[in-house]
């Protein structure tokens, strides 16, 4: 494992130095614009601190109002991190919030630990609880995850109510936050500063993650889990880690909340969980400002609108319905609609791509070459006696053996239902065979999951491309580099602030862009959302994502499905070029012209068994093959 990590880092460093003009090629963020962004960030920060100073010296009413809003803002943005980016709709955040608040109060009360020490303790402690909750998402997702976490909140509330040490229904008085030392008291109320800083850190972390190279990966875990795993993402671990981070933030929010006065179970019951989710959706899920706007609105509305409580409730509910019905993307959608009305803009140039039809350039040079270790002779891939069945009865694969030589193109064909895709899924680690063994580049990879195989040089594509529809083809392609970028997940939390993060983003974009060009995708498509591209572009994007990380063994599962004749020729050229660069390619395909034109060797499967395997010409003229497959 350690050697793989080191090798990853070395190879990435090589790539980074090999792309010195990355920023120039990328061309999206010229120097002066980068400077502008920096100035904006510093200016914003100064304004934020100034505002905090004003509030810290302001009235108690305003302080309380804004601190409550900020604390719910943290909760909302922490929930948005898991719900918006990874699709885990947690209703456990009220419970996590409660654990943060009660931990702060009880640990300070009982053991006299200083609150400044306890803040990180709460973060870690609730983060660990979150890791446990996040682990549940491996068994259930979607609605069931929401339900399970909902129950978690109920249980926390029940414990708070029914046990002595939590003070029961009456609750506990929160700890007091230490004042500033004498010299600093011009700053005003210390608690305001504490809440402001925690808010800034949490919002900053989430915004950094959204700006990081990990963001497309998280969306892939949400929308296209197999795609992410095939790129080498240990999806389960990342999901749990993100949930833990989100939980830690909720814990910090709880700790901060405890300083505001009394805490009691009623403040943390399940309705609070739902309210936090409502804040996120009402404000605008997976947006920078949405959750904060939602939190501000919901926490301040009842206080700032002093009318008859029944009418106020009525108005409150009506706003929920109206905003969501007319702007399903929430406040942010509303603001965008107003913005668009004020500044009418042209439609994005999606169609522009077709006007430059001549632009399919033949520069396949940019296709990354296979790494040096693949140059050895011998077998790139070997399957021995693979047996697999989906249920008790019939076998999908009954002892299949397959040997693929280095630097060859190997076709895998057979009638529908013969087990080709099953075999591919076993080679790629998505399915575990009942018996038999798979060897990649001389190393046995049995027992390794799908996410561990890319680091052995194995990449794959899927029959029907499922990618992240809401981001661009380029961003989808960068996901393929995940296994090549060292410690991407760890650095994501401060990504745009790290020089290495900004550099890696540039390199990744440049690399992805070059690969997309190489597979023949017109640059006009690169920045188009995958949701808006035709099927062929999607297929080519998937192909780019699978070769962007320079695999030594590449498995293509029906890469031609839905491609027009010209595109088929182009893919043939790409595949041949990959072979020239030492990449071993395994192709599952039905277009026999392509198979027998391009492949060196062909294996024919029928009913879970190998009918014939050998040089393409020999297989083509084999009588059994003609009978079971070609129908001649």
């Amino acid at each position: 494992m350690a050697t793989i990590t080191r090798r990853t880092r070395d190879r990435w460093d090589q790539l980074v130095t090999a792309v010195p003009d990355a920023s120039a090629r990328d061309g999206r963020l010229p120097r002066d614009r980068g400077r502008l962004v920096q100035v904006g960030v510093v200016g914003g920060l100064i304004a934020y601190l100034a505002a905090t100073f004003a509030v810290a010296n302001g009235s108690f009413f305003i302080q309380n109002l804004l601190m409550t809003a900020a604390i719910f803002g943290i909760l909302a943005i922490s929930l948005d991190l898991v719900a918006g980016m990874t699709g885990l709709y947690s209703l456990g955040h009220a419970g996590l919030f409660a654990i943060g608040a009660y931990s702060m109060t009880l640990l300070n009360d009982e053991f006299g630990i200083p609150v400044l020490v306890l803040l990180p303790v709460c973060f870690v402690e609730v983060g660990l609880v979150g890791a446990f909750l996040g682990a549940l998402s491996l068994r259930v997702s979607g609605l069931y995850f929401a339900i399970t976490t909902f129950i978690f909140t109920l249980v926390v509330t029940v414990i708070l109510v029914d046990f002595e040490f939590t003070g029961g229904l009456g609750g506990l008085g929160g700890p007091t936050f230490p004042d500033f030392p004498a010299g600093l008291d011009v700053l005003g109320d210390s608690l305001v500063w504490a809440v402001a800083i925690i808010f800034l850190l949490c919002v900053g972390a989430v915004w950094c993650i959204r700006a990081s190279a990990l963001y497309p990966v998280l969306l892939a875990i949400r929308d296209a889990e197999p795609y992410a795993a095939a790129a080498g993402v240990r999806t389960a671990t990342v999901r749990i880690a993100v949930f833990a981070l989100s939980a830690g933030m909720a814990g910090l929010a709880g700790a901060a909340f405890s300083f505001l006065g009394f805490i009691s179970p009623g403040q943390f019951n399940w309705t609070v969980s739902v309210t936090i989710l409502v804040m996120v959706i009402l404000g605008g899920m997976n947006t920078h400002l949405g959750p904060i706007l939602g939190a501000a609105f919901i926490s301040m509305f009842p206080i700032l609108v002093p009318i008859d409580p029944f009418v106020e409730q009525l108005l409150y509910g009506a706003i929920f319905v109206l905003v969501i019905v007319f702007y399903p993307t929430g406040f942010v959608g509303l603001i965008q609609a107003i913005w668009r009305r004020l500044r009418p803009r042209r439609l994005p140039g999606v169609r522009a791509a077709q006007d430059e039809e001549a632009a399919i350039d033949d520069d396949i040079e940019a296709v990354p070459a296979a790494p040096a270790e693949a140059a050895q002779s011998g077998l790139a891939l070997e399957c021995r006696d693979i047996v697999f069945g989906y249920d008790e009865g019939s076998l999908a694969l009954a002892g299949v053996s397959l040997a693929v030589r280095h630097g060859t193109i190997h076709g895998l064909i057979g009638p529908n239902g013969s087990g080709k895709s099953t075999l591919v899924n076993i080679i790629a680690g998505r399915l575990a065979p009942r018996s038999g063994s798979v060897t990649v580049n001389g190393q046995v990879v049995d027992g390794l999951g799908a996410a561990a195989r890319p680091s052995h040089g194995l990449m794959r594509t899927f029959q029907s491309a499922v990618m992240v529809r809401e981001i661009s083809a380029l961003a989808n392609t960068t996901i393929g580099l995940y296994s090549r970028v060292p410690r991407m997940a760890l650095r994501a939390i401060a990504w745009p602030l790290l020089p290495s993060g900004r550099r890696d983003s540039r390199v990744m974009n440049a690399q992805a862009s070059a690969t997309l060009n190489a597979v023949g995708l017109d640059p006009a498509w690169h920045r188009t959302r995958v949701a808006d591209v035709p099927h062929g572009v999607e297929q080519l994007t998937q192909l780019a994502a699978s070769i962007v990380a320079s695999p030594s063994v590449l498995i293509l599962d029906e890469p031609l499905a839905g491609l027009a004749a010209g595109e088929v020729d182009h893919v043939s050229r790409i595949v041949r070029d990959l072979r020239r660069k030492g990449v071993t390619v395994i192709v599952v395909e039905h277009q026999t012209r392509f198979i027998f034109d391009v492949c060196d060797e062909v294996t024919v499967l029928a009913a879970g068994e190998v009918v014939r395997s050998g040089p393409a010409a020999a297989v083509r003229s084999d009588d059994r093959v003609r009978e079971v497959y070609l129908g001649q």
Partner: protein, 244 residues
């Protein structure tokens, strides 16, 4: 299995604009499918072929112009009424009801005949005759079938509503050569029964084999229209080049 006669065109499209949101993908398209004809739609990716099929089936809210199926104007008709004997579709990606059995999928295809037991059973029988393997797996859940078998169920589901016009979006996708041959034979038999077929197909050879006439779509417009029989080797190369 009577086809209502109203002129001889099963499908007549004129001045059709259709697309997603406010954005037109198909622009000013005119197209006809005569009774008992199979018509192929060719064109590069993104040319608007799938959009056109979806517009005919009433699946796009944004559609303007004229679409007549068997003399009935369907331009503002909701999908579930178009489904009543006028048209049915084998959509991109098959889209079976994966957690229901093969037979349930087929019977759901015959939903619009509800009440007419005899006709439903007769149609079911004709699907089974066309695709014996579908009968073999009738009680399996649809997701347990392989891609090619699913394709057959999708075609069968389309047949079950006894539609005047059959729309197929790349039925050969993911099929092995033998299965493609069976599928093509099935389409020819349907055509012989007097069905009208509008077919999207990327594989020019297959389109020319199955279809009487070919439309080439490009950038949302009809770029070319020709009889399949008139396409000689040179023309075929031209089409190939055009699609590339």
């Amino acid at each position: 299995m009577t086809i209502p006669m109203n002129g001889s065109s099963t499908l007549r499209i004129a001045d059709l604009h259709a697309g997603y949101g406010r954005f037109d993908v198909v622009r000013d398209v005119a197209l006809t499918v005569e009774r008992g004809q199979a018509v192929g739609l060719l064109g590069p990716n993104g040319a608007g072929k799938t959009t056109l099929l979806r517009a005919i089936m009433g699946l796009l809210p944004n559609r303007r112009g004229r679409i007549e199926i068997a003399g009935t104007d369907v331009i503002s008709m909701p999908t579930h009424r178009i489904a009543k004997g006028l048209a049915s579709i084998v959509p991109e990606g098959r889209r079976l009801f994966l957690h229901q059995s093969v037979e349930d999928n087929l019977r759901l295809g015959g939903l619009t005949l509800a009440g007419d037991q005899a006709r439903t059973e007769a149609l079911l029988r004709s699907v089974f005759d066309l695709f014996p393997v579908v009968e073999k797996y009738r009680s399996r859940p649809a997701h347990a079938l392989s891609g090619g078998e699913q394709q057959m169920v999708a075609i069968g589901r389309m047949m079950m509503s006894d539609p005047t016009l059959m729309l197929l979006d790349e039925p050969s996708l993911g099929l092995a050569p033998l299965a493609i041959r069976d599928m093509a034979a099935a389409l020819e038999r349907l055509r012989e029964q007097g069905r009208s077929i509008l077919l999207i197909e990327q594989r020019v050879d297959l389109a020319l084999q199955v279809c009487d006439r070919i439309y080439v779509l490009s950038d949302g417009r009809v770029a070319e229209e020709t009889k399949a029989a008139d396409v000689d080797a040179a023309g075929r190369r031209l089409i190939d080049a055009y699609l590339g």
